[in-house]
């Protein structure tokens, strides 16, 4: 229901808010709860009210946000309140969700003081006198602390968003004490308030009618003292009488409009229980007091949030739950809206009455308040996916972009077949800027790489490159790439796109651990890389000014289409290929010039989809897709990339040991007629499980499906005839295409 804005002030200009669709007047200084009580409305229909943010009885949906403590928000003209159903949860808003645009502000200090009552102010002043930077958070000033986290981090909700406060030294808890609520039959009725709440309401001018006080008298208003033991409240929705029992055992019924409850105080220490162990936490004032323990409840609702009665406590106790933490888990008492503020004193009292030692309050965990998704997400960012310098070019060319290897990359440019054939028959460009690139220099550079890699790096001459595996200490394949020797003491390493970040850490960690004298520079994000591939690559590069390109597995610095490049000759596609590494500032110019120069050669860019098919035809693995966490060079059929006669390298000892064990499975090639099965498809030998497919594609050039997959050995033999997707398939050697590598070396 909507109410016209000009209808939100009465004729005498009293402001109004809207409760369940009806305008309700309020006075200056009212919070939303006081405004409702002034109008005779209880937010949840009933339950003892504290006006201090401790209890669950004043929550309502305010301006579309559920579970708002109406005693903690100032009344505003036009504020829309929907009362929560009695003993029920409010419906989640479907079309009116608050946007996830709540901001978080980060503040730094030495000491954060939570609560600015008398003790909080004193603590803050003392810290300031001692030269500490102090931040004070006070719920009364609209800064509601909802959690303490490792860091340490104190998170508070405000009207303008979230505060993330980072204290260096100490968190001072000065949150005071909460009043103990009554647990007797009838405590769900309206008209029951704590003594402090009664005082506040009276001073706000709310008519409380005839007030009967149980326990401590409220200050500043006339109330009739009820003596004896509280037995029950009577009434229909609203309290009409309170029943006490005197010392002789006689019941005394006292008619009333309001009952004021003064049963003692319980330390408001949830944040203390949350912060202990995370950081230095000091508690001052009433929050440090020993909580009063009320008499053991005999009947009635103990936990209104979770609907736990005294009978429920008795029931779980009889089933063997005698510890406070276990009772909490068994009943959910203390896990609801008020986080145990109301029920905890009574659960402790109950267990003590049943012969258990008085147990300390249970551990508190964030958060202490219901939060919106926006409040939870405030200050967090989704992980950004980096883009190459050619990202705009790809999108301009109509590429379908995907996240691959941790980067945004072109999956295809709309026609994978054309891209594929451009590589096989003409010339194509691929953006391989995402590959890891690292320079290694220094007197110990060769020593570092000899120890890290299973190949003999010393035999690599300047200007030459070599495919290498990177192994961990257990001999498992972590990554692969190239070692390129620039001169005697300088090398360029490449890594896979997805593995480069970890590989950098790996190289740095070993270099430092071994105490080697090397310099390391990660250039992954500083250098672009374009792969020129296809049988007409030579022609394209000649047009771009590179008449003397490097030979296969050689590299050199040259100018290509006006751009200084380090040119690497290699091949992942199976055709002649050159990787042009260059400054990212030149990526777009180089890309465009090459496309222009190759226009009449049938040049097209290719995406990842075509690239994966092209490399599969050559049997090239993709680490992480075709390898498992425990893939050794032997298991992936790459023993040729490892020189075990080297004195040592990372993983060598483990490989020598595991090589003595019988091979149990191996990555092998398969082919079959018809369409390619999906990757992950199971491989069968008869009715026996034999492995799974890791890479699969229909090969246009071969006219059949080709696959890589893990295959188990049966009686020390790899089976030849298998079944995949219910169809016959054959194990075959790789590469599937151009096994002699003549095209790549052309």
């Amino acid at each position: 229901m909507s109410v016209p804005a000009d209808n939100l002030m009465t004729h005498d200009q009293s402001p109004r808010l809207i409760v369940d669709g009806e305008p309700v007047e309020f006075s200056a200084g009212d919070n939303a709860l006081v405004a409702m009580l002034r109008a005779g409305l209880h937010p949840t229909g009933g339950g003892c009210l504290c006006l201090a943010g401790d209890c669950p009885h004043c929550v309502a949906t305010v301006d579309g946000v559920s579970y708002v403590r109406t005693c903690q928000v100032a009344a505003r003209p036009g504020m829309v309140i929907k009362r929560h159903p009695l003993n029920g949860a409010p419906p989640l808003p479907l079309n009116d969700r608050p946007g996830p645009d709540t901001i978080a502000r980060h503040l730094h200090c030495d000491v954060v003081v939570i609560g600015m009552g008398e003790s909080g102010q004193a603590a803050a002043a003392e810290a300031q006198r001692n030269g500490r930077r102090v931040i004070a958070l006070d719920a009364a000033a609209g800064q509601e602390v909802i959690g303490i986290y490792p860091g340490p981090l104190v998170v508070a909700r405000t009207g303008d968003g979230m505060l993330h406060v980072h204290p260096r030294e100490e968190i001072t808890i000065a949150t005071g004490a909460a009043e103990i609520h009554p647990v007797v039959p009838g405590n769900h009725l309206a008209g029951i308030v704590t003594a402090r709440a009664a005082t506040q309401l009276a001073s706000a001018g709310v008519d409380l009618g005839r007030v009967v006080a149980v326990g401590t008298l409220p200050e500043g208003l006339a109330a009739e003292q009820a003596d004896g033991e509280l037995i029950r409240f009577e009434g229909d929705e609203r309290v009409e009488a309170v029943v006490m029992r005197d010392a002789q055992g006689d019941e005394l019924r006292m008619a009333c409009d309001t009952v004021s409850i003064g049963l003692g105080l319980s330390a408001r220490d949830a944040l203390l229980r949350m912060g202990n162990g995370i950081v230095a936490v000091r508690v001052v004032g009433e929050a440090a007091r020993s909580s009063d323990i009320p008499p053991c409840p005999k009947a009635g609702m103990v936990c209104h949030c979770a609907g736990v009665t005294v009978d429920d406590l008795e029931s779980v106790r009889e089933r063997g739950f005698h510890e406070l933490e276990l009772v909490k888990r068994a009943t959910l008492a203390g896990t609801g809206t008020c986080q145990g503020s109301v029920c905890l004193p009574y659960v402790r009292s109950f267990l003590a009455d049943r012969g258990e030692a008085l147990q300390p309050p249970f551990t508190a965990r964030p958060v202490t308040r219901q939060l919106t998704v926006g409040e939870v997400a405030a200050g967090s960012y989704h992980q950004a996916t980096p883009r190459t310098a050619l990202d705009d070019e790809h999108r301009r060319l109509g590429a379908q972009m995907e996240r691959a290897g941790g980067w945004w990359r072109p999956w295809n440019y709309g026609n994978t077949d054309r891209e594929y054939w451009a590589v096989r028959e003409a010339v194509s460009l691929g953006d391989v800027s995402t590959l890891g690139k690292m320079q290694v220099s220094g007197p110990d550079a060769l020593e570092l790489l000899e120890r890290l890699y299973p190949t003999k790096v010393a035999t690599l001459k300047p200007g030459r490159s070599r495919y290498v595996l990177l192994l961990d200490e257990r001999g498992y394949v972590m990554d692969d790439g190239l070692i390129c020797r620039d001169d005697e003491t300088r090398f360029t390493l490449t890594f896979t796109s997805g593995g480069s970040s970890f590989a950098e850490l790996w190289v740095r960690d070993w270099a430092e651990g071994w105490g080697l004298d090397v310099r390391l520079l990660n250039q992954t994000m500083s250098l672009g890389a374009i792969n020129v591939t296809g049988p007409l690559s030579h022609e394209l590069l000649a047009r771009a000014g590179l008449d003397d390109p490097p030979q296969y597995l050689h590299h050199k610095i040259a100018t290509v289409a006006g751009v200084k490049c380090q040119v690497f000759r290699l091949s992942f596609t199976g055709e002649v290929s050159y990787e042009l590494h260059h400054s990212v500032a030149d990526s777009v110019a180089l890309w465009r010039r090459l496309l222009k120069l190759g226009a009449d050669l049938g040049i097209k860019p290719h995406g990842i989809e075509a690239l994966l098919k092209l490399r599969l035809e050559k049997g090239h693995i993709v680490v992480g897709q075709d390898t498992d966490f425990d893939s050794t060079p032997r298991r992936i059929n790459h023993e040729w990339a490892m020189k075990l006669d080297k004195p040592d390298f990372v993983g060598r000892q483990a490989i020598l040991r595991t090589n003595k064990l019988p091979l149990d499975r191996q990555l092998t090639g398969f082919e079959m007629e018809g369409p390619a099965p999906i990757e992950g498809e199971l491989i069968w030998k008869g009715s026996d499980y034999a492995g799974d497919v890791t890479s699969s594609a229909f090969s246009p050039v071969l006219g059949k499906a080709v696959m890589l997959g893990w295959l188990k050995l049966f009686d020390d033999e790899l089976p030849v005839e298998v079944t995949i997707n219910g169809r016959p398939a054959r194990r075959v050697p790789t590469p599937f295409y151009d096994p002699e590598g003549a095209r790549a070396r052309a």
Binding site: I103, A104, R105, H106, L107, H108, H164, H166, G379, S380, Y381, H382, Q383, A384, P386, R387, T388, A389, D391, W407, Q439, S441, G442, P443, A445, T489, R490, D517, V518, R519, L520, L521, Q523, M525, S526, L527, S583, V584, A585, D586
Partner: protein
């Protein structure tokens, strides 16, 4: 938010002693991103660093923008969990708005630097 522009710089990896002793061109910003690495906003040649094995590479891998101090600090208060240095000028680096950002803080302005692959994300998150 000012447009992020490519920063022409030089990355130098050398012994800490060589970097400590190096004299950078007048007016260049020299950001010591690690004990053994500097990012200098000028053309540097290998002979300016007393380390025969130093890696000295012209680098265009960062984009950056100067932002007025008030605006920058307001953004950083919302997007940076760690505490900024209080002295000026100062260099700082770490996660800002979830991105790997380098900051050069002066009294009245702040230089934001981010690797080129995150330029779009920083622009989006600052706007």
């Amino acid at each position: 938010m000012p447009e992020l522009k490519l920063i022409a710089a030089t990355r130098i990896v050398a012994t800490p002693a060589a970097l400590d002793a190096a004299a950078w061109p007048q007016g260049a910003l020299a950001l010591r991103v690690a004990p053994d690495e500097a990012l200098v906003t000028a053309a540097i040649t290998a002979d300016m660093v007393d380390d025969p094995h130093a890696i000295v590479e012209h680098d265009t891998g960062f984009v950056g923008a100067w932002v007025e101090s008030d605006e920058a600090l307001d953004f950083l208060e919302r997007s940076c969990e760690w505490e900024l240095p209080r002295e000026r000028p100062a260099f700082a680096q770490g996660s800002v708005a979830g991105l790997p950002v380098k900051l050069w803080l002066e009294e009245d302005r702040v230089l934001f630097l981010v690797p080129v692959p995150y330029a779009t994300d920083l622009e989006e998150r600052m706007s």
